[in-house]
C-alpha cells in the first residue's frame, strides 16, 4: 500500500538540482565526445564535412588503391570514387578542369614521380605524399621460354613485344630508361604494338598470341601472373607512386586524410605490400593527428595564421606552446615525453643547445635588436654608445636569462660602454621578456630607452619610436627543426613547408621580421 502521508516535499527534486545535473551531463557528453573524437570516426560531425572524394588513379596501380580506398570508405563513411586512366590522361583531365574552372578531382595518383613533378610545376597539385615504388620489368607469358636477357639484342630478336604509350607511366618510364642507354628508337621500331594502358599490355601478353612480352611494372606482372625476364639494364629503373592533393580540391582536408591513409605504415602500406609494391612507409595513421609544437614567444603573432591554416587543411591538431626559449629548452631537457614534434626558436643558439633531439634545422627569419625611445627622440640617441649620457634611464631584459638581454649586454661590452653604464647606474630595470619592457615604456615616462626586438614593436603606441642599432651582434635568427622521435615526420615536413610558404613569409614580414627562409620567393 502506498502511504500517501509520506512527506512529498522530501521526494521532490529541487529545480536547481535538475539544472545543475543537466549542465553536468552536457559537459560530460561534450568532453567524452571531444576527447574520444579520434576513436569515433563515424560520428555525424566528422561525416558531414565530406560526402565524396574523387580520385584519379593510374590504371596500373588500381588494385592496392581500390582496396585501400574501400577500407577507408568502410571506416569513415566517405565515398571514394576512383577514375582510372593512364597517368598522362589523368593529368590532361586535371588541366582541363582547371581551364574550365570545373574542379572535380580531389586526389591524383599517377604511376610515376615525373607526372607528379610536372603537375606541381603546372600548379595542378598542392601536397604530395609518397605511397610506394615499383620496378619496370620486361615480362612475358608464363608458359614461354626465356628468350633473351639483354635489351640491346631485343630489337633484333624474334620476340614479339609490346610497349605502353608514353602517356602511361610504364610507357614513359620505358622511354626514359631506353633513351638513357640509347636503345629507345630501335626498340620502339621493333615493338609489335603500343597499348594505352599497362593493364591492357599485360592482358595482351597473357591472352594474345601476337604479343609474347612487354615492358610493364613488376606489380602488374604479378597481378597478371606473368614471368619477369631478368634484365640488367632495368634493375634500377624504379617508379614512385605518390598521392597528390589537387590544388583545386573542394575537400582538401579529407583528400589529405585519404592520402595519409594510403601512405600510412599501419594502413595503406599493407595493401601495397600485398600486391608486391614496395611501400614507402609513411607516418602512422591517425584521423586527427595531434602534434606538439614548441615556439619561441617572439614568433607568436607572425606564425599563428600559419598554424591555423595548417590545422584546417590537414585536419590535425597543433598543440602549440609559446614561451621563452629558456622555458622550452627546460621542458625539452626534462624528459623524452616532453620532446616536441617541431621546435621553432627565438634565436638559433637555443636549438644548438638541444641539437641531439632534432633533425637538421632550417632558418626562417631574423629580427634585429633596436632601441625604443620616446617620440621625437628627446635625448638625441643615434647609436648605442649614446646610452653613456648622464641621467639616461635604460631598460634591458635579463642578460643571464634572455637572448635579447645577452645580446644587449654583449654589445655594451663590445663597445666598451658596459662599465660606465654600471657606474652611472643607467640600467634601472631589467625584465624577463621584452613585453614587460614595452609595457613599462608605454605605461610610464621614467624609462628613456629600452632595448627590444624590432619584431616586438609592431603595435607600438604613438608616443614611441625605434632607433635601429648597427652592430653585428644586434641580430637574432629564428630557426626550426623537427624532432628525431616524432611519429609524424612527413606531416612535420609539410608543416615546415607551410611555415616557409609565401603566405607565412608575408605574415612574418608584416610583423617586422626579415625573411631568410628558403622554399619561397624572396621579396
Amino acid at each position: 500500500m502506498r502511504f500517501f502521508y509520506q512527506n512529498r516535499a522530501a521526494a521532490q527534486v529541487c529545480p536547481k538540482t535538475i539544472v545543475f545535473l543537466g549542465a553536468l551531463g552536457i559537459l560530460c557528453w561534450f568532453l567524452v565526445f571531444r576527447l574520444g573524437s579520434d576513436s569515433r570516426p563515424k560520428s555525424p560531425w566528422v561525416r558531414s564535412e565530406a560526402q565524396e572524394l574523387i580520385v584519379y588513379c593510374a590504371a596500373g596501380i588500381r588494385k592496392p588503391v581500390a582496396e585501400a580506398a574501400k577500407a577507408f570508405e568502410e571506416e569513415y563513411g566517405v565515398v571514394v570514387r576512383l577514375d582510372y586512366g593512364s597517368s598522362g590522361e589523368l593529368e590532361g583531365k586535371l588541366e582541363l578542369e582547371r581551364a574550365q574552372n570545373a574542379p572535380r578531382c580531389d586526389l591524383y595518383i599517377p604511376a610515376d614521380l615525373s607526372f607528379s613533378q610536372r603537375a606541381r610545376e603546372k600548379g595542378l597539385i598542392a601536397e604530395h605524399l609518397t605511397l610506394a615504388s615499383f620496378q619496370l620489368v620486361l615480362a612475358m607469358g608464363s608458359d614461354e621460354d626465356l628468350p633473351t636477357q639483354s635489351l640491346s639484342s631485343l630489337a633484333n630478336s624474334d620476340l614479339r613485344f609490346g610497349l605502353c604509350d608514353e602517356k602511361a607511366g610504364a610507357g614513359q618510364k620505358t622511354c626514359e630508361a631506353l633513351k638513357a642507354i640509347g636503345l629507345w628508337e630501335s626498340t620502339q621500331a621493333a615493338a609489335k604494338a603500343t597499348f594505352p594502358r599497362v593493364t591492357e599490355l599485360a592482358g595482351a601478353i597473357l591472352s594474345s598470341d601476337v604479343i609474347q612480352a612487354g615492358f610493364i611494372w613488376d606489380s602488374t606482372a604479378h597481378q597478371f601472373d606473368l614471368k619477369i625476364i631478368p634484365t640488367p639494364e632495368l634493375e634500377n629503373i624504379q617508379s614512385t607512386i605518390s598521392a597528390n592533393v589537387s590544388a583545386q580540391s573542394r575537400n582538401p582536408t579529407w583528400a589529405l586524410r585519404l592520402a595519409r591513409y594510403l601512405s600510412a605504415v599501419d594502413k595503406g602500406a599493407a595493401f601495397f605490400a600485398k600486391h608486391h609494391y614496395n611501400p614507402a612507409n609513411g607516418d602512422r595513421w591517425s584521423l586527427t593527428p595531434s602534434i606538439t609544437f614548441y615556439c619561441g614567444g617572439v614568433n607568436r603573432e607572425a606564425i599563428s595564421p600559419s598554424i591555423k591554416a595548417f590545422e584546417k587543411r590537414e585536419g590535425c591538431v597543433v598543440e602549440t606552446q609559446f614561451a621563452g626559449c629558456g622555458t622550452l629548452i627546460g621542458s625539452i631537457r626534462s624528459g623524452p615525453e616532453f620532446l616536441p614534434d617541431l621546435f621553432m626558436t627565438c634565436d638559433a643558439s637555443y636549438l644548438s643547445m638541444v641539437a641531439d633531439h632534432f633533425l637538421h634545422p632550417q632558418d626562417v627569419s631574423s629580427t634585429r635588436v633596436c632601441m625604443l625611445v620616446r617620440k621625437g627622440n628627446p635625448n638625441g640617441i643615434r647609436q648605442l654608445s649614446d646610452l653613456e649620457q648622464a641621467d639616461l634611464k635604460v631598460g634591458t631584459t635579463d642578460p643571464a636569462m634572455s637572448t635579447l638581454g645577452a645580446l644587449s649586454h654583449a654589445m655594451f661590452e663590445d663597445l666598451g660602454i658596459a662599465s660606465s653604464l654600471r657606474q652611472q647606474q643607467s640600467i634601472i630595470v631589467t625584465t624577463p621578456t621584452a613585453h614587460e619592457l614595452i609595457l613599462q615604456m608605454e605605461g610610464h615616462d621614467k624609462l628613456d630607452v629600452a632595448l627590444v626586438y624590432e619584431a616586438n614593436c609592431q603595435n607600438l603606441g604613438h608616443n614611441l619610436e625605434i632607433i635601429p642599432i648597427d652592430h653585428p651582434l644586434a641580430q637574432a635568427t629564428q630557426n626550426m627543426a623537427s624532432g628525431r622521435t616524432t611519429a609524424y615526420p612527413q606531416l612535420m615536413e609539410r608543416f615546415m613547408n607551410t611555415i616557409l610558404s609565401d603566405q607565412s613569409m608575408e605574415s612574418f614580414i608584416n610583423q617586422g621580421f626579415e625573411w631568410i627562409g628558403l622554399n619561397s620567393k624572396q621579396p
Partner: protein
Amino acid sequence: MDWTQLETALSGLQKHLFLQAQSHRPKSDIPFFTGMICLAGFYILMILLMVCADLCYTDFQSLRQTLGEPEIQYSIQLSLFSCSLSTIMSLAVAVPIGYLMSRFEFKGQSLVDAVLDIPIVLPPLVIGISLLVLFNYPPFHWLSDWVVFEIPAVVLAQFMVACAFAVRTMRVTFDQIPRRYEQVALTLGCNRSQAFWRVVFPQSYKGLLAAGTLAWARSLGEFGPILVFAGSTRMRTEVLPTSVYLEMQSGDLKGMLSVSILMIALSAAVLVLARIFGMQRINA
C-alpha cells in the same frame, strides 16, 4: 464504506505508522565520514606529493649552490622584508575597512564591495600596468623617482593584492562578532573608538592572524604586478617568485625547483611560527 469502517481502517493505519517509526534505524555514518576523509585526504596528499616530487627531483648540491648565490640571498631578504611590510600595511587598512563594511549600511555599499574585490579578480599583470599608469598622474607622479622600478614598488604591488584578501577576512571576522558588545560598551560610557579598541578589536585576534597569514602568503607568491611595476632587476627588485620565473626562463629546472623548495620552506616556517605565537597570545 461507512464511518465505522473508516475509523477502523484509520486506527489500523495509525498502528502501522507507529510500528514503522519504531523499527526505523538511521543509516550508518561510515559512508559520510569516508567520503569527507577521502576528499580531504586526496587534496592534502596531492600537496604533500607535489612537495616530495620537487624534493626528489632536485638534490642537496643544487640546493646548496642556489642558496649560496648572492642574488638568491638578496631576493630572500627582500622577500622577507617586503612581505612583512605589505602584511602590516594590509592589516592596517583591512581592519578599518572590514569594520566599517560590517557595522554600517550606506548607499552604494554593494558598489564599494565590488570595488574591494577588483584586485582579486584582475589578472596580476593588469594590476602592475595599472599602478604604472597611475604613477603618471599627480600627486603619484611626484613620487615616481622614489617608487617606480624601486623597492617601494615591490611593497606597493604586493600590498594592493594582499590587502584585498585581508579585507575579506576581516569583514567576515567582524560580522561574526555580535554588535551587542559594542552597544553595551556604549551604554557603559564608551565612545565608538573606545568600544572598538577595548571590546571589539581584542575579539578579532584570530581573524587578524588569519588575515595576516593570508596576506603574507599572497605577498610571497605574487610576482605578476611586480614584474611590470618594479621590474625583475637582480640585486634590486628581484623577489623569490621572480627568481623562480627567471630560472625557468633560462631552462634551469633544477635551479627553479631549488628556489621553489626554498619558498615552500620559508613560507611554512613563517606561517607555522605566526600561528604558534599568535595562538599563544590569543589563548593567554
